[in-house]
């Protein structure tokens, strides 16, 4: 039996297939509630990545590698911090301090709502970054990564 076939039994596959949509949904919930309740980008990224990892364990590691290629991981890995800096600079350019979200003039929104929207935007960036990085770590550890030089 090949190493990849260990988890290829009916129970693991069926449970994984059932659970993954809910894991992803829960991840999105944690992500979008991060500005107002416990949670946030990092946790959500880890939860969503866990869904991906469960899929790849139950089915095929190569599938994960194919769907999350190195380019994708590099770009997502950098997206969050760049997004964060861009939003921070936008606050400075709108006349506030760095990350003083309330001052950014978004149309038809009160300052508190602007903060909520922009914090969510930062959190979504962080979530995407963590998603890319955690998946990349799993691929590196299982030797499925293509970025060994």
């Amino acid at each position: 039996m090949k190493a990849e076939d260990i988890f290829k039994d009916l129970i693991v596959r069926t449970v994984a297939r059932l659970m993954v949509p809910f894991i992803l949904l829960f991840g999105l919930y944690v992500l979008l509630h991060g500005h107002a309740s416990p949670g946030g980008g990092f946790q959500a990224g880890v939860i969503i990545a866990a869904g991906f990892i469960l899929m790849s364990l139950a089915f095929n590691m190569d599938e994960l590698k194919r769907r999350v290629p190195l380019t994708f991981r590099l770009i997502t890995g950098s997206f969050g911090p760049i997004n964060y800096v861009v939003i921070g600079i936008a606050c400075i350019l709108s006349g506030g301090y760095f990350l003083q979200y309330g001052v950014v003039p978004l149309p038809s929104l009160a300052p508190a709502d602007v903060s909520a929207v922009l914090i969510s935007a930062v959190e979504i960036g962080i979530g995407i970054t963590v998603l890319g990085m955690v998946t990349g770590m799993i691929l590196s550890m299982t030797g499925g990564s293509d970025d060994h030089t």
Partner: protein, 493 residues
């Protein structure tokens, strides 16, 4: 608030961090692009930190509230004289190191890893600048983690046995240091309910002599000493320095300076001088440890054959000078210690660049094989010799100035023994540095004497650093103009 001048503290930190995340994205498509991105960010950073220090000199310390939240709640950046001074050093030395790395890393690591190298390099720079500028204890810890993780990876980036071993050792000791820092900061936070340094000063006064505060103080002192490489805790340095590509130790000399800065912040900004000098004499302990570092590490350095290990022990001895200056805790002593941060950064950067060029061009790192190097690489050896003179402390160079200040401070404060330590250490430094210079100029040449000088991108930063060693010794008043108010602010006189 729209003028960018008032946002300089945050821009100085953000610029290298932003560039760090841009390099892998651009570097994936165009492998050469990491160099211009890094150089552009670091050059801008030099300009910005120069503007920052001008602003601080003119208006005094700058307080910047992240997110517009005032201090006890929000995170505050405080750029005082010392922080601005370190920002300038860090920006300048990292820029020179980045220029040097362009060809050096290409030769040692190849094109693909150079992208990762610059990513980590810029992250480390951002962490260093962040740790210098922050006014919040927990933020300081976070910046130290950014520094630590990127420097572990940088030490092991070559992926060979020595590099990985060095990184592993560094990781182990550094992780212990980080945990101690975190525990100590936790103790202080639980007892005062604040993480802001300026706020903590006020709240600490009534509860100074409680066990938890003292535990927090000692844990933090040990943690920062590990980061700063103070004597018994310097054991990560030799392996990490010898295993890493020679540009990484240049950054590492900055890391230990920031460790020393964190200790200064803790001892002089969070706890105040009468407490740490008289009630709990941490500073006395520091002076004795520093003296031990200076003497013992110099003696160990004499016995080294690998030049990188020799320089590592020399770094451990030199951080001893910085801690000795801090420990004397008079304005003059602090000035000397802080001046030595600058001088040692320049001198050691020059030495490591020269050694990097030698290893990269000839593959020699054993001191016995240095014979004839002065003919093969005259400019490199010239820079090395100049920096070595500065290390020993021969008068026109900058090394003399800081040693002179610290010795003067030791005599003025009545602790003669430390002046003797400095004198002895200068002799020991002369033994191990002049041995190298002697072998290179007058030693028996091993093989061919063909001129094999390093490329221009390595020579230029090296020579600038070497000239800096002399200029800083002659124009010592320039850094002192910043350091005098810095020392007064720290001691509260």
């Amino acid at each position: 608030m729209t003028d960018l001048a008032s946002h300089l503290p945050v821009i100085v930190i953000l610029l290298p961090l932003l560039a760090a995340y841009l390099t892998p994205v651009f570097g994936y498509k165009w492998k050469g692009s990491c160099v211009p991105v890094a150089l552009a960010a670091l050059s801008l950073n030099v300009i910005f930190s120069y503007l920052l220090i001008l602003q601080v000199m003119e208006h005094g310390p700058i307080h910047y509230y992240m997110g517009g939240l005032p201090p006890p709640w929000g995170i505050e950046l405080v750029v005082d004289y010392l922080a601005a001074y370190l920002c300038v050093i860090i920006s300048f030395v990292t820029l020179m190191d980045a220029i040097f790395s362009k060809d050096f890393i290409l030769r040692t690591l190849g094109e693909r890893r150079r992208v990762y190298y610059y990513t980590l390099f810029l992250l480390l720079t951002g962490g260093l600048l962040g740790a210098s500028c922050t006014g919040d204890l927990f933020n300081l810890f976070v910046c130290f983690e950014v520094i630590a993780i990127s420097s572990y990876a940088l030490v092991g980036i070559a992926g060979d046995g020595k590099g990985v071993l060095g990184a592993y050792k560094y990781l182990f000791i550094g992780a212990i240091g980080s945990s101690l820092m975190l525990l100590g900061i936790g103790h202080l936070y639980i007892n005062t309910g604040t993480l802001n340094m300026a706020d903590m000063v006020v709240r600490l006064v009534p509860i100074y002599i409680s066990g938890a505060i003292l535990a927090g103080l000692s844990l933090c002192v040990v943690g920062f000493s590990i980061k700063g490489g103070l004597f018994p805790l310097h054991i990560w340095m030799p392996d990490a320095y010898a295993g890493a590509p020679a540009t990484v130790p240049v950054l590492s000399t900055l890391v230990i300076k920031v460790g020393a800065l964190a200790l200064i912040r803790l001892l002089f900004c969070v706890f105040r001088p009468p407490f740490i000098t008289e009630v709990i004499p941490v500073t006395t302990l520091l002076t004795w440890l520093a003296s031990a570092a200076i003497i013992i590490c110099s003696i160990i350095a004499i016995s080294q054959q690998d030049i990188r290990r020799m320089l590592a022990y020399s770094s451990a001895a030199n951080i001893g000078y910085v801690f000795l200056g801090i420990g004397i805790a008079t304005p003059l002593g602090l000035e000397g210690g802080m001046l030595h941060m600058l001088n040692h950064s320049f001198t050691k950067a020059c030495l490591f660049m020269a050694v990097g060029a030698i290893i990269s061009m000839t593959g020699i790192y054993n001191i016995r094989d240095f014979g004839g190097l002065s003919k093969r690489m005259p400019i490199t050896m010239g820079a090395f010799t100049l920096a070595a003179f500065s290390m020993v402390g021969i008068p026109p160079t900058c090394g003399f100035m800081s040693k002179f200040f610290i010795a003067h401070a030791a005599i003025m404060s009545g602790t003669w023994i430390f002046a003797v330590v400095l004198l002895v250490s200068s002799l020991l430094n002369a033994i191990y540095f002049l041995r190298v210079v002697n072998t290179a100029y007058f030693g028996h040449p091993c093989d061919e004497l063909k001129r094999n000088e390093a490329p221009l991108s390595m020579l230029v930063p090296m020579v600038i650093m070497a000239i800096g060693c002399v200029l800083l010794g002659v124009c010592v008043e320039v850094p002192l103009a910043v350091l005098r108010p810095a020392a007064q602010l720290l001691l509260g006189v």
